[in-house]
């Protein structure tokens, strides 16, 4: 029996110890009319070899060529060490480290993770991870509302240039909290959040402003100006940053005069495979004074009874298994293994390695944008500063162009903005990372020119 080690004689002995004649007798307390006899519509089991063949066929079906899509999930090179180490059974098949003495490995990794995220973001405290960027941002909004001294502050300002998927998740998760989620338009010239549009919210009951850096269009927001404006109006600033970009860009803790209050976003660029959307992980950091309002797990350093240092899950009075209905969040399982991968990734690359990944991704984007804009029928959409994504537009529907690129070359050409931002016409969001060589960039330009 697959994965069940019992021999016939084991089963006999066990049943006799229990004092029943058959395994089925152990289900006698379930009302008879509810019992089912086996599962229909599920195929018979397969051998490991057969399943491997089936899955290899399915995976081969989805093999694509060059990928220039970003839009919240980024193809960075993942060093072999990352995936090897997180595949070790001791990390992979451990539970949440509630038994601290038998979980010092995971606990120390998470403490190191928290330390690295704090240094990267220049914030005081990090939790042990959330599900993903979108849910982390939604929880950060709920946290800001709890923290805000003005109980009437129920308005949240979300840039239109924030990932559309994130805005949808925020809507779902905050629905029962009676918040006004107001969308702040972007400046059609730069693609950045419009300061003019923000002015009407001065001295209103606003709890938080979300600032995405870079924003969904890849444009760089003037984070200092936005942060200072928010703080002057007693509005919390929630930063939503790409952690790889943060190796190069001003850290949220240094935005404006006081820095962002909470930072929440997706950690996927730090060593998590694209994997068709997940598992990734959400990060969340804040200032020390807000630590007790953080959702999720936190690892703290302490000592054992001999005074030797060690690590435990701490401030658990915030969490669902202690506080139940009064917890800061219902989150229990998080994405610990992906945070472990990020810790190993950051250790391997260090500050300089990450800066180079960011700089190369950025330089590739500048170079590709220049090349693409030389093609007839390709237009620039924004003129602001960018990190590693940019928007271009065409005279023809984007869907046709992407489909032709994929069918002819296997190239995934970018994210079609038509549905989410119809006002931008036939617009495409293109991303480059350090994984693209100069030849790849030329190839893409040639392919695009060909299909146009």
């Amino acid at each position: 029996m697959p994965y069940i080690p019992h021999t016939e004689s084991d089963i006999k002995e066990m049943l006799s110890t229990i004092g029943v004649g058959a395994i089925d007798d152990l289900f006698a307390e379930i009302p008879k009319d509810l019992r089912i006899n086996g599962l229909k519509n599920i195929p018979e089991g397969m051998s490991e070899f057969e399943v491997a063949r089936l899955l290899k066929e399915r995976a081969a079906q989805d093999q694509t060529g060059l990928c220039f899509i970003g839009a919240g999930a980024y193809e960075h090179y993942i060093p072999a060490v990352v995936l090897d180490l997180i595949s070790r059974g001791e990390f992979l098949t451990a539970y949440t480290p509630y038994q601290a003495e038998a979980s010092q490995g995971t606990l120390q990794v998470i403490y190191e993770y928290q330390s690295m995220m704090c240094h990267l973001m220049q914030m005081d405290v990090s939790n042990a991870s959330m599900y993903d960027g979108a849910s982390s941002l939604a929880e950060a909004i709920l946290m800001a509302v709890r923290l805000h001294k003005n109980e009437k502050a129920k308005t949240i300002l979300l840039p239109q240039a924030l990932h559309p998927g994130y805005r949808m998740v925020i809507k779902t998760i905050t629905k029962a909290h009676g918040l006004n989620l107001d969308t702040i338009p972007y400046d059609p010239k730069t693609g950045c959040t419009s300061m003019d549009a923000l002015q009407q919210y001065a001295n209103k009951d606003v709890a938080a402003l979300v600032i995405a850096q870079p924003n969904f269009f890849g444009s760089l927001e003037d984070v200092d100006v936005l942060t200072n404006w928010a703080h002057q109006n007693s509005i919390f600033v929630i930063g939503n940053v790409n952690p790889i970009a943060t190796a190069l860009l001003k850290a949220p803790g240094k935005w404006g005069e006081k820095g962002a209050d909470i930072v929440a976003g997706d950690g996927q660029p730090l060593g998590a495979p694209l994997a068709y959307g997940g598992p990734y992980f959400g990060y969340m950091c804040t200032k020390k004074e807000n630590a007790r309002q953080l959702p999720g797990r936190i690892v703290g350093r302490t000592v054992d009874k001999d005074g030797k240092p060690g690590f435990v899950l701490t401030l658990q009075a915030r969490e669902q298994h202690i506080r139940r209905a009064k917890a800061t969040s219902n989150i229990c399982s998080n994405q610990a293994l992906m945070a472990t991968g990020a810790t190993i990734y950051m250790s391997l690359l260090g500050a300089e390695g990450m800066r180079r990944v960011a700089a190369t991704s950025h330089a590739n984007a500048i170079s590709l944008r220049e090349n693409l804009l030389k093609i007839k029928g390709v237009k620039a959409v924004f003129d602001g500063q960018l990190f590693h994504e940019f928007v271009i537009s065409f005279e023809r529907p984007v869907e046709e162009i992407l489909s032709a690129l994929s069918k002819k070359y296997g190239t995934q050409g970018g994210f079609d903005l038509t549905d989410e931002y119809p006002e931008l016409g036939n617009s495409l969001l293109v991303c480059t990372t350090e994984t693209k060589s100069a030849e790849d960039l030329e190839t893409y330009a040639k392919q695009l020119e060909d299909v146009l």
């Binding site: 019992h6 110890t17 307390e29 509810l34 089912i36 519509n41 599920i42 018979e44 490991e48 995976a59 989805d62 093999q63 694509t64 990928c67 899509i69 999930a73 060490v81 180490l85 059974g89 992979l92 098949t93 003495e101 979980s103 010092q104 490995g105 190191e112 928290q114 330390s115 599900y131 998927g165 949808m168 779902t172 998760i173 629905k175 029962a176 909290h177 003037d222 943060t246 190796a247 190069l248 068709y276 997940g278 703290g300 000592v303 030797k308 060690g310 690590f311 435990v312 701490t314 669902q320 917890a327 399982s333 293994l337 250790s347 391997l348 500050a351 300089e352 700089a359 500048i366 489909s403």
Partner: protein, 484 residues
């Protein structure tokens, strides 16, 4: 404690082959740029490998230790799941890749939806929730959306939850603004029906139940409970944490539930990863179909396509920017294909056999079983109330002593209504010999308590650290290495 990776850092040491070698021109104005590089370790690749390999060795895990953690289903995670989910067509596939190059993965997801419908007895499944609690949130949101669609969400403000429930249940209900009404459990482990009858009314939005419950017994009056709640206009939520116990034997959809979540990381063999990622799909009956979170995978002819808000205007919306923890769904899909229908039924059977066997063995050896007159599900409770009274040892002490013998402690102090308890879940993948060895050690600890209780109170002694000071951790709030 192993030195922190930061403390192994040497200025200007790098693992340069891992990052682009050339430095590139940056066309970004100075005001956007970082002034000081982040304080990250500067270490070689070998140092990283050694550091994290050594740290991993400080963990107990299913791959290394018996891990009978109640309600967590720490069963064997077949290595082939990891292996196949890492195939490049899956692992390097961008979530916004075009549909015609995503048919392989979508087919797996579609078939998984279909299998989960069959296993749960429900009519619709959305895979998108990222973990059990996220699935609970989705379930509660659907219950809210249902009442909203009928215009009585303003009056239906209460969620009924038995006192034995997982902490996530009341926390999830509260995330959607429900007030929680707790109902008691009877001495035999079943829900107090009389208390339930008094609790329901026009204010009832629903009830959240785990069955078999966290007490390790099947709720025998489930049909009566369903009727009482439905008659009051409420809906029934099934917490799927204990699905492992009943796979192929009885289905939540048939018991009268309206909505549930599954923990793919419990019942379907995907690893727990030191706390995640999990995956918590939700399943619903016909009543709640329009409210499922999106996206869902649909089949149109031979094509696998997304159903989105355009198709389902009443959906509770998105829970993830993309589609949830697809890699975990894929592992669960592979697990189901390996086991097949018959294998899944065996999961329920042998997890139940193992639990009942261990229960009887421990009972014969003088342990106090919380519900001695009941059959166990895939888990059961013993209580050390007596040992606590006589010798001053706690369930926590005994759990820590188990670590010294190489066994992970069972779940302690949960459920909250049984004092000094262990919730023990051996799972189907453990052999009789391993279970016997565990019973042997637990019996030995019982002897140790009688001879030298201090030994047990001082446990563990063989772990990398001794008993840790939780109070100091909460007081010091040392959550990061400060660089000094």
């Amino acid at each position: 404690m192993t030195k922190l990776i930061f403390e192994k850092s040497c200025k200007n040491r790098r693992a340069p082959s891992l990052a682009p070698l050339k430095d590139r021109k940056i066309s970004i104005a100075a005001k956007f740029l970082r002034e000081v590089p982040p304080l990250l370790p500067e270490v070689s690749e070998l140092e990283v490998v050694r550091h994290y390999t050594k740290l991993s060795q400080k963990n107990f895990s299913v791959d290394t230790n018996f891990y009978p953690l109640g309600s967590c289903t720490m069963k064997y995670n077949p290595h082939i799941l990891q292996n196949l989910a890492s195939l490049s067509g899956f692992a390097t596939h961008h979530p916004y890749s075009l549909g015609d190059v995503s048919q392989g993965i979508r087919k797996c997801m579609f078939e998984l939806q279909e299998y989960l419908k069959e296993i749960t007895g429900f009519q619709g499944v959305s895979l998108t929730p990222s973990a059990g609690a996220n699935g609970e949130f989705a379930g509660v949101a659907m219950i809210y959306a249902y009442h909203e669609s009928r215009g009585d969400n303003k009056t239906r403000t209460e969620m009924i939850i038995p006192d034995a429930a997982h902490g996530t249940n009341p926390a999830s209900a509260a995330m959607y603004g429900y007030s929680v009404r707790e109902i008691p459990t009877l001495a035999d482990g079943d829900v107090d029906i009389e208390a339930l009858k008094k609790a329901v009314g026009p204010q009832t939005a629903g009830i959240m139940l785990t069955n078999p419950s966290t007490l390790g017994v099947f709720e025998r009056k489930i049909k009566e409970i369903a009727k009482i709640v439905h008659d009051a206009g409420g809906l029934l939520y099934y917490d799927g944490a204990n699905l492992n116990a009943i796979m192929g034997k009885v289905r939540p959809g048939d018991m009268g539930f309206d909505v549930m979540h599954l923990n793919l990381h419990k019942s379907f063999g995907t690893p727990h990863g030191g706390g995640g990622p999990g995956s918590g799909p939700v399943a619903v009956n016909k009543t709640l179909l329009p409210f499922l979170p999106f996206p869902l995978v649909d089949k149109k002819g031979d094509n696998y396509v997304w159903r989105t808000r355009l198709n389902e205007p009443q959906t509770i919306g998105r829970l993830s920017a993309f589609f949830g923890n697809v890699g975990i769904m894929l592992r669960a899909y592979i697990y189901i294909r390996l086991l097949g229908a018959a294998g899944l039924v065996r999961v329920g059977e042998y997890s139940t056999l193992n639990a009942n066997y261990l229960l009887r063995v421990l009972q014969k050896r003088g342990f106090t079983v919380a519900y001695p007159d009941r059959l166990a599900s895939h888990e059961f409770i013993i209580t050390f109330k007596r040992e606590n009274k006589e010798f001053g040892v706690t369930a926590k002490d005994i759990g820590k002593r188990l670590l010294d013998y190489g066994f992970h402690a069972p779940t302690t102090y949960f459920p909250l209504l049984v004092p000094e308890c262990f919730l023990i879940e051996p799972t189907e993948t453990e052999s009789k010999q391993e279970i016997d060895a565990f019973a042997e050690v637990l019996t030995k600890i019982l002897e140790e308590i009688k001879i030298d209780a201090e030994l047990v109170k001082g446990a563990p002694t063989t772990m990398p650290v001794k008993r840790l000071d939780d109070v100091k951790a909460a007081k010091d709030m040392d959550f990061r290495w400060c660089g000094c």
